[in-house]
Symmetry: C2
């Protein structure tokens, strides 16, 4: 069997000590041009590739920043929101020469985050959909930043859910809508509750009935939620869905029911994803500067500079055809 070459092989081949070979390969520490040349030749000849695990073990250093998504099913990884987080993190990470790893953490296994965060080779983790239990099981030393709600030890970064929601709802009410229903996020997600709070408050201020239907950020659920809403409260004339994906689902669900948008019912979402201006009708929504948020979170874990427990980023209303 062919062993994959190790640093020792390289050193032997180059006629230097493992220590010198290591210095050359890792680029740290002094080495004569001659030594450099010979080691480089040996590396090329043998096709040597450093073992990341051994290096991580020896240096206590990490080589990757992880983006971890908590959800019930791995399907959540297909969410464009996650894609944006990963891409933004990758950009920050690339500047520091570390890789990005995407992990799915099952909702029912809160300890998975602790395992991930502790593992050598992981420089830090950017957590999407932070849940209470997962955050609580975290060891003190963890380098984690959350997108959404944080905890005593975990700094959080998020869009101003409350403000964004309020903006959308005021727009809806301001354009004459009187019966506004809302498709929420999953109940296990604390940060989504902030949007629901805002909805409740605007309802109180404007005297409309609270019509909440649970959602899960998916298009599929958005469609069924729309049907539920119209069956339960037929006089509903506006639906606000947390997440554009859900809103697109609502649009689809309403189309199936033969409900006109925006004629009969106005629909608005949250996030302003790339597809929002491509739907039929184009979707009114409010922005979510995910890239900016993720970049801040990634920077926070990688550089470990202390940040305030919760940093909020503003959301601005984008009015299109659906309202």
């Amino acid at each position: 069997m062919i062993r994959t070459p190790t640093l020792a092989d390289v050193a032997r081949h180059a006629g230097v000590s493992p220590a010198t070979a290591s210095r050359v390969v890792s680029g740290r520490g002094p080495a004569s041009p001659e030594a450099r040349r010979r080691v480089a030749a040996a590396v090329a000849h043998l096709g040597y590739v450093p073992d990341a695990a051994a290096r991580a073990l020896a240096t206590h250093g990490g080589t990757r920043v992880a983006v971890a998504v908590i959800s019930g099913t791995p399907t959540a990884l297909t969410d464009p929101y996650v894609g944006r987080v990963v891409a933004a993190t990758a950009e920050v990470a690339a500047a520091r020469e570390v890789g990005v790893a995407l992990h799915w953490l099952p909702l029912h296994d809160p300890a998975a985050l602790a395992r991930l965060a502790h593992g050598r080779g992981i420089d830090g983790v950017v957590l999407v959909n932070p849940t209470k239990p997962a955050l609580e099981l975290l060891p003190r030393s963890a380098r984690v930043a959350a997108i959404g709600a944080g905890s005593r030890q975990v700094p959080a970064f998020d869009v101003d859910n409350r403000g964004g929601t309020t903006g959308v709802l005021r727009h809806l009410v301001g354009s004459g809508r009187r019966h506004v229903a809302m498709v929420t996020g999953p109940s296990w997600l604390p940060c989504a509750e902030r949007a629901v709070d805002a909805y409740r408050r605007v309802a109180r201020e404007n005297g409309y009935e609270v019509r909440l239907v649970p959602g899960d950020f998916t298009t599929t659920r958005g469609a069924t939620a729309a049907a539920e809403i119209m069956a339960r409260w037929p006089d509903t004339d506006a639906v606000f869905a947390l997440g554009d994906l859900a809103a697109l689902g609502v649009l689809d669900g309403l189309r199936v029911l033969g409900v006109e948008v925006p004629g009969d019912v106005a629909v608005a979402g949250f996030d302003d994803i790339a597809f929002a201006p491509l739907s039929r009708p184009t979707l009114t929504t409010t922005t979510n500067p995910v890239e900016q948020i993720a970049a801040h979170a990634a920077t926070a874990v990688l550089d470990r500079h202390p940040t305030s427990p919760l940093t909020l980023f503003p959301s601005t209303l984008v009015v299109r055809e659906s309202t």
Copy 2:
């Protein structure tokens, strides 16, 4: 400073040897109930979490399967296609108790794949957008499966690009279109060439002019490509774009130009992503069973059972409003 606890700490605390502690924690090898109990207690008390790097180093085993995407910018990670691959891989991986890591490999650094594949802790890699150079630089021992084109050592899995393309084009021609342009994939991607071949062949068979415009699977490029096509060949009456994202971009680009779809120009895509039925007008496309393909690829690398060099999965036409 607080050190994170090691196995040795656990062993000391439990009053057993590191060897015994290891057996209990890893669940391999014999151990008395009494020893198990005490080690478990120590683990809980100390909040011990095994170090993945050290374990990988000692066992030569991996704990993760990687999904690697080759592209020019990390933005490609936001592509829903990638999301689907990751989710499907995660499902396969979960059954084997290994994690999934998503990596972005810069197009200009073909050796990155070799580094990734070789690293300890990586059980195998599922490669998206395989390029020739990357494949060629791979060490013999690599456990890689490609989605797209493979090589002597790397098995590949892909949708039947040729068949899918042919199906779409026949449908276009069959419904009376005479001047069909195509937005291709990036030129560095060999597997996308198969679709171009099919386009050329159908053109020859039907006597229409070859009108190729390079694309890159993005919506943005789709929109500009549409403008280019209409400027260069104003009598174009159908556009086939590789990738639904690009097709949605074409739709958007044509709308801006005031071109009616499907009245003036028919548009069709490839992949049948979740948004295809939500666009305006809804998008005609042909399916790409990505989940199935990714699952096969993941299984191939994880189980290492030899597979044929290239496995193709059928694509079926989905006619909607845009044609």
